[in-house]
Structures are given as C-alpha cells and as structure tokens.
C-alpha cells in the first residue's frame, strides 16, 4: 500500500483539502512549516474544534505562515496561494463556481464542520485535480471523503498512523481504501511541495 513518494509525483492539482482532529494544530504546523511566500495552490482545512467557541486558527496560522490565511466565509472565492480554515459550527463545501458555501445541516460523525463533507464537495468540484490530506485524529471523519477523492481520480495522502498522535483517523482512512501515500509528516510536506512544483509548470 505504501508507495515510494519521490520523485514520482507530477500530478497537477487545482486545490488541496486537509483534515485533522485531535493533535491537528501541531501536525498542521509541521506539515506547513517553511511554506514559500510564493505558494499558489489554494488549501482548505477542516480541523475539529468545539462548536460553541470562536476559532482563532486563522490568526494563529497567519502569524506562522508567509501566505494569506482566512477563515472561510460563505460565497468567498478561493484565491491562489491562500490557506482557509472552516469556521466552527458549520459544514464547509467548495462549489463549482470555485467559492465556499456553508451549511447548518446536522453534524456528520459527530462533527460540524465535517472533513467528509468538505472532501466530497472538493471531489465533485475538481474531479481528479484535487489532493486530500488526512492527519492525526480520534474519529472516523475523513475516511469516506478521502475515498471519494480517490474515486474521482484525485490524489490521497494519509499521515502514517505510527507517527500520528492519535491514529484512529488515519487508520480508518487506510481501512477504507489504499491511499496513494502513507507517510510521516515531514515527507508529506515534501509531497506538498512537489504538488506545488507540478502546479507551477
């Protein structure tokens, strides 16, 4: 199931979607560390947080990264080179018009925002031109969404469960389908940079 990551990744993607739960902030920090300021592929993250609280994820990562970071708002267009976080208490989808939409539908697998919802919408919108990354987490959210990306011909990457702080989420994804890549964070970061290089061609 594990394939050698390098130097084979030449896939050209239009967007990257990422999901994580418990331990996700730390994992995401490692994954996105050293991102270049001229980054181009829009990235969208669902990170599970308690619903009642305002999220400060966008502020936190805006301080750490050299690219624009926003909380996704309804009908906000996806801009090149930006990083977006789903707001707490809403499902986040990407529409064909390349903009976000929010929804108050009930939680999926106890989660709102749901990683499955974001990833399935990205698979519908981008088809094969999307990459999904699933990191550490303590529930099954994301396994189905990542599988939908795989079915649409997109690229799927999962944090090595042996390295993940909580292995439930990556293990559930691996049980659902054989991801294109199962790697520790440092190598997932190299994969991310390769996707950017392929995008720039």
């Amino acid at each position: 199931m594990k394939k050698p990551p390098f130097p084979s990744v030449r896939k050209r993607v239009e967007a990257i979607v990422l999901g994580a739960s418990a331990g996700g902030i730390e994992a995401l920090s490692v994954l996105l560390d050293g991102l270049p300021a001229n980054w181009r592929i829009p990235m969208t993250v669902v990170l599970h947080l308690p619903e009642a609280h305002e999220s400060h994820l966008a502020e936190i990562f805006a301080q750490r990264l050299p690219i624009p970071v926003h909380e996704a708002a309804d009908k906000m267009p996806l801009a090149a080179g930006s990083l977006y976080f789903a707001p707490p208490g809403y499902h986040l989808s990407i529409e064909r018009e390349r903009c976000f939409s929010l929804s108050c539908e009930p939680p999926v697998l106890f989660s709102r925002p749901s990683i499955d919802v974001l990833m399935a919408s990205a698979a519908d919108t981008y088809g094969p031109a999307v990459a999904g990354f699933l990191l550490t987490g303590a529930n099954d959210d994301g396994a189905e969404g990542l599988y939908r990306i795989h079915l649409a011909g997109g690229l799927t990457a999962v944090q090595d469960p042996k390295e993940a702080l909580i292995s439930i989420m990556p293990s559930a994804a691996i049980a659902r389908h054989a991801p294109d890549h199962v790697l520790p964070l440092r190598e997932l970061r190299t994969l991310l940079l390769q996707l950017e290089s392929a995008h720039a061609i």
Binding site: A73, D74, L102, S103, E105, A129
Partner: protein
C-alpha cells in the same frame, strides 16, 4: 497562463445532471424554485431523501414526485433545513439590544421581518427581546418561510424541553433581563412559549426565490438562510430586503454570512460588524 480565473471545469456528474433536472421538474410542477440553491448541500439532502424514501436514484424520485403531490410534501421537508435554536449566536441578540433597539425606539411603530423563520425559534426569541425592551406592543412581526409544515410549528411556539437548557444559557448571554422560565410552561417533553408573545405576529408562506416585497420594514432578520443560496439567488433576496427596508433600516445576517461577496456590498453599511448587523444606505 493564469488558470485560477478560468479553471477547466470538471464535467457535471450524472448525479448533478439528475439533480438539476429534478429541481427544474419541481419548479415546473409545484412552483417551488430550488434551482439556485448551492449544489453541495442540496445534493447531500436529496441523496439523504432517497435513502429515507427507499428510492434507487434521483431520476426515480423525479418520476414519482411529478405524479405524487403527497410525496412532494415529504420531499420538501428534506429540501429545507429546519435547524434552528433560540437566541442562536447570543452576541447577535445582545447587539440588537444595544445598538438597534435604541434607534427602533424613535419610531412610532416598528415592522420586523423574520425571513426564512423555519420552526419559529428566532421569532419567539425576537418577541421576547422586543417585549423586554418595551417595543413588542408597537411592533408588527412578519415571519415567513416556504415550508408550510415549519410555519405550522412556528405558530405553535412549542419546542423540545431537552433543548431548553441550551436556550436558557443563550438567553442569558444575549442580555436577557428575566428568568427564561418566565416565558414558557413545561409539559411532558415540551416547552410551550407564552402565546401572547406572537399573538399579533403574521406567519406567512413567502419565497425569497419567487415572491416580492409585501411590507415596509425597519428590521429584517434573515440568518443562516442565504448560505443555502447561490450568489444569484442571494442577490435576489438581498434586493428584496433592500426594497423592504425603510431609509436606514437594519439587516441582520448569520454569524458567518456576509454581503461582501454580493452585488449589495456597497448598499449596506456595517452597523455592528462582528455581529453581522448592517444598515441600509451609508
């Protein structure tokens, strides 16, 4: 080449084609216009409806729904999202109290439009707030929705008792002046709200997609409704609100909604920006 502005569109899936045809059929047959709803959420709800109704495909649903009015009534419950709570986003209601109510007090009479009122939680919340602020007596509330079953529930003002604890916390954070329990009577597993709160409110069937303005209002509260509309339909709805609002009238949206990406961005000014309360004109 800058591909971000002219993305190569991934071809429509069969499911999305079926979805569009279903919405066209519903519009032609029943005059309910869901054609400009956001696709991602609509698709999820229709697929869920298929599962619940035991039908194999959207095309099969379309065939049945064209000939079976009762089935359409059931499908309508899946297509609309009756998810609401009382004093949802307490900061919104607190901002209404602090920054809108003092201005509404300067009017001899006030009209409030709750657009997309669903099962009425927001209507009763506003009625409580207006009564505590001494405004309910001279306020006419219009509560509208496209779903007759939701409107029927809204009129009754009966909400599940299990939700009351959360509503009470919301009410307190929203600047509530009394004990929340003053407003309802608990019986079995339900809380029945004081019928006098909405005795004069008008609950009416109205579609933001197909109907026009029916009254001049000073406050429109339309929260977490526009998120289900695409930009074209959002613009239509915002146009109705703009037309309905009197000079310097107020528009309240959901906490993650924004007029920034609509054609009306420059026709409203933020009044309480973080709480998504806008004011007509500048």
């Amino acid at each position: 080449m800058n591909t971000e502005h002219t993305p190569p569109l991934h071809p429509l899936s069969d499911t999305e084609i079926e979805l569009r045809l279903l919405m066209e059929a519903i519009y032609l047959k029943y005059s309910y216009d869901f054609r400009n709803y956001t696709v991602a959420s609509q698709k999820r709800r229709v697929l869920y409806a298929l599962d619940q109704l035991g039908l194999p495909s959207i095309s099969a649903l379309q065939e049945k729904v064209l000939r079976d009015t009762a089935l359409f009534g059931r499908l309508l419950q899946f297509l609309t999202i009756p998810v609401s709570e009382m004093f949802r986003d307490p900061a919104y209601f607190l901002a209404l109290r602090r920054h809108v109510v003092p201005i509404l007090h300067t009017y001899p009479s006030v009209r409030v439009w709750v657009a997309g009122c669903s099962t009425g939680e927001e209507v009763f919340s506003l009625a409580i707030l207006l009564r505590e602020e001494g405004l309910l007596e001279r306020t006419q509330i219009y509560a509208t929705d496209i779903n007759p079953a939701s409107l029927e529930k809204a009129r009754l003002g009966i909400f599940p008792l299990e939700a009351i604890r959360g509503y009470t916390a919301n009410y307190q954070r929203a600047g509530g002046r009394n004990a929340f329990s003053d407003y309802y009577t608990a019986a079995y597993d339900a809380a029945r709200f004081d019928p006098s709160l909405c005795a004069d409110a008008i609950f009416a069937d109205h579609s933001l997609a197909t109907d026009s303005v029916f009254a001049e209002t000073q406050l429109v509260s339309c929260r977490n409704v526009l998120i289900y509309f695409n930009r074209q339909l959002q613009d239509r709805a915002l146009g109705l609100f703009h037309e309905s609002l009197s000079h310097r009238g107020f528009l309240g949206l959901g906490s993650k909604e924004s007029i920034d990406f609509s054609s009306y961005a420059d026709r409203f000014a933020p009044h309480a920006r973080a709480e998504r309360i806008y004011r007509k004109g500048t």
